[in-house]
């Protein structure tokens, strides 16, 4: 039989176009519209938010200031070996005079001094002093002698090692500082001296306090969420206002009320003394320390725990617990073995959310934390606006960001980004 093979007929649409093709095209059109709708916001967030974050990442390793201020010196230092025990030669010192004169005239050289001071104390003072005196210096015959006469530190090998080490376009010193480490003068890595170690302790304090706060919010939030989910809807709508009002109140308002409450001469101490539980000169110090931070932040973050818990608890049918009771379980067993496991998702969601928020907090610790209740974000702010060590601020910020991203991925696995609801 001829033509036993039957070709599968290609299905076409009314215009004769193959259906597969037409379907693909239609789907693509729809995807295009969808993408076009999202594009404006995507571009907007890209420019106003994502690129700035990226810029910050770059600043955490940027060391272009060395090349800008000391171009000739760095060129001359190219041949000099870090591990040599002799200071660089006369050409380098001539280059030093040249760059300093240019930098002092432009009044920009002290910035390099400040930057190098992060590596070794005294550099800032050295650069300032040299800049002031270099103006009067005639181009010297023996630059080495002249510079060492201005300040002995120019004759020390450590000074030159620091300059050589930090002469590249990029540097790891900011990240090393954030981890309380440093590059020693012999090139090895080591921890900083005891009295300069700050950040590991700060990171640990931030994590520790955030855990405490998360734990407290779970402890306080669980009963309320349970109550809200088990009363009549009408009552819960009324009661939830007591949770939503703090949620909607300005952060600063809530923090200032805690200042009023926790001060030594504040409301709580006044009540305790008035009732007789405390003597007047033994008032509790509940503010400007860790306690202040913990109490205020627990209060502020509690709604973030209650709302997710509430929405999870609402989905648990009450008949489950009744069924467990009917089969002989005590109320305690029914709770622990039937109810509690079903709320774990809510605890996880609320807990991670509260933790993420807590480790990034700035305002509340700044106002009520004193010096022992401040968190890593306060130090990032300090380096951005006061010490102006932007490299270090960026490095600390990047580490914090990575921490939060890791937690966020965890949150996504537990809850799912698409399921985030806001009350």
């Amino acid at each position: 039989m001829a033509n036993a093979e039957v070709e599968t007929e290609v299905i076409t649409t009314a215009d004769g176009v193959p259906l597969k093709q037409a379907l693909k095209k239609a789907l693509w059109e729809r995807k295009k519209t969808a993408l076009l709708l999202v594009a404006p916001l995507f571009l907007f967030v890209m420019i106003t938010f994502l690129i700035p974050i990226f810029d910050m990442l770059i600043r955490s390793v940027d060391n272009s200031i060395a090349g800008e201020q000391f171009p000739t010196v760095i060129e001359e230092l190219g041949d000099w070996d870090l591990n040599s025990s002799e200071i660089p030669g006369e050409e380098t010192f001539q280059a030093l005079v040249k760059d300093f004169k240019a930098g002092a005239k432009a009044k920009t050289i002290s910035r390099l001094g400040r930057r190098l001071n992060y590596e070794m104390s005294g550099m800032s003072g050295l650069f300032r002093k040299t800049a002031r005196k270099i103006k009067k210096l005639e181009p010297p015959e023996n630059a080495t002698e002249a510079m060492i006469a201005i300040d002995k530190k120019w004759g020390k090998i450590e000074t030159w090692r620091v300059i050589k080490r930090e002469s590249g376009r990029y540097t790891s010193s900011y990240y090393l500082s954030s981890l309380d480490a440093e590059k020693k003068s012999d090139g090895s890595f080591g921890m900083k001296s005891e009295d300069r170690r700050v950040y590991m302790n700060l990171f640990w304090r931030t994590i520790r306090l955030s855990f405490t706060i998360t734990f407290l919010t779970i402890l306080l939030g669980y009963p309320i969420a349970y109550l809200l989910s088990t009363v009549k809807t009408k009552t819960s709508n009324m009661l939830i206002i007591l949770v939503l009002l703090p949620f909607w109140t300005s952060l600063l308002v809530r923090t200032s009320s805690w200042i009023a409450l926790l001060q030594k001469e504040g409301v709580i101490n006044d009540i305790l003394v008035g009732v007789g539980l405390l003597s007047d000169d033994n008032r509790l110090a509940m503010i400007h320390n860790e306690t202040g931070t913990i109490v205020a932040m627990t209060h502020i973050l509690l709604p973030f725990m209650v709302l997710p818990l509430f929405s999870v608890m609402k989905t648990i049918p009450p008949s489950w617990v009744r069924a467990a009771r009917s089969m002989g379980a005590t109320p305690f067993t029914a709770f622990v073995r039937v109810y509690l496991p079903n709320t774990v998702a809510g605890i996880g969601a609320g807990g991670i959310l509260v933790f993420i928020l807590a480790i990034g907090y700035y305002i509340t610790p700044a106002l009520v934390g004193g010096t022992t209740g401040t968190l890593i974000s306060n130090f990032i702010a300090y380096h951005v606006s006061t010490s102006l060590n932007w490299g270090l601020a960026a490095a600390l910020g990047t580490i914090l960001l990575l921490l939060v991203l890791a937690l966020y991925i965890l949150y996504d696995k537990v809850v799912g980004i698409n399921n985030m609801k806001l009350g």
């Binding site: 001060q263 300090y382 951005v384």
Partner: protein
Amino acid sequence: MNKIFKQTLLAAVASTVVVAAQAETTMIIVSWGGAYTKSQQRAYHQPYMDANPGIIIVNDDSSSEGASKLRAQVEAGNVTWDLLDAEAPNAITLCDEGLVEEINFDEDLAPAPDGTSATEDFGKSLISDCFIPQIAYSTTLGYRSDIYDVAPTKMADVFDLKNFPGKRSLEKRPDPNLEWALIADGVDPKDVYKVLDTPEGVDRAFAKLDTIKDQVVWWTKGSQPMQLLADGEVAFGSAYNGRLFEAIEVNKQPIKMLWDGQALQLDGWVVPKGAPNKAEVMKYLRFATDTQRLADQAKYISYGPLRASSAPMVGKHADLGIDMAPHMPTAPENMAGAIFYDFEWWADNKDDLAERFESWLAKN
């Protein structure tokens, strides 16, 4: 819905246009806040605004972070401040970094009434090419008069927790705390900066501060220590002498002050480079730093004018009628035990020690 939207949009646009259309010049003058800013308002700003309608002077009280904020503004390329009230070491550093204008004193500032040039009139207080001196002030100690049975008599008492227990408040920066720590530890005031210039000296100062660290509440703005003393949150603490004067004499708080160990400092104006209203600012400066004006501010707060010609004009307090001369930090009876601030040394070492201080603060 569309109509309401359109109307709201129009109103919003209109209001922004109105804001932009105001033709007056606004100058932002940055100072230290509290009683000090008030004295400047009464002695300089208000008379100037009265004589020059169309000029509005706005006060921004950020001088305590003045140097870093100005640096940040310049690096950000957007200088919004017109004039900054800065203390001497900050003025020196800002001048070195090219962030503030150099001043031609005899041209830009008024001569004394008897014809003496500004340079001669200000004399030794011209510690930098960019710094226009205003006042001499000191950071000194105050204490609650109703808490201690035996009152403190010397600066070293603030380190004495046994005889003078209770919380104290100190300024949240290395100076003058490091100097005080060394002197309380036995260093001769004449040698303080020599000792502080060595790493061992700095360690010694921090070790002494460690002995009182957990009893200290740190302040950043000039009015904070007065609030802390008034509230009873602290019993003893450092403050600017003019603020102590305000609290004791004007507000009649139960506070007393010590002159022993007062750290004498200079304070004045610097003009940010790239300030929006430079021409107007120079006009204002000529007025605000003349002999009469500097003498006038002494009517409101106990800071010493730095012009030689203003000193004899210091009279009585404008509201209280009391003699101001004995309350000046430079009055002879207050000068025993005073520490003379080394501006150059602090200009060179400020950044380094500030970072060390922050690290020290952050340790538990």
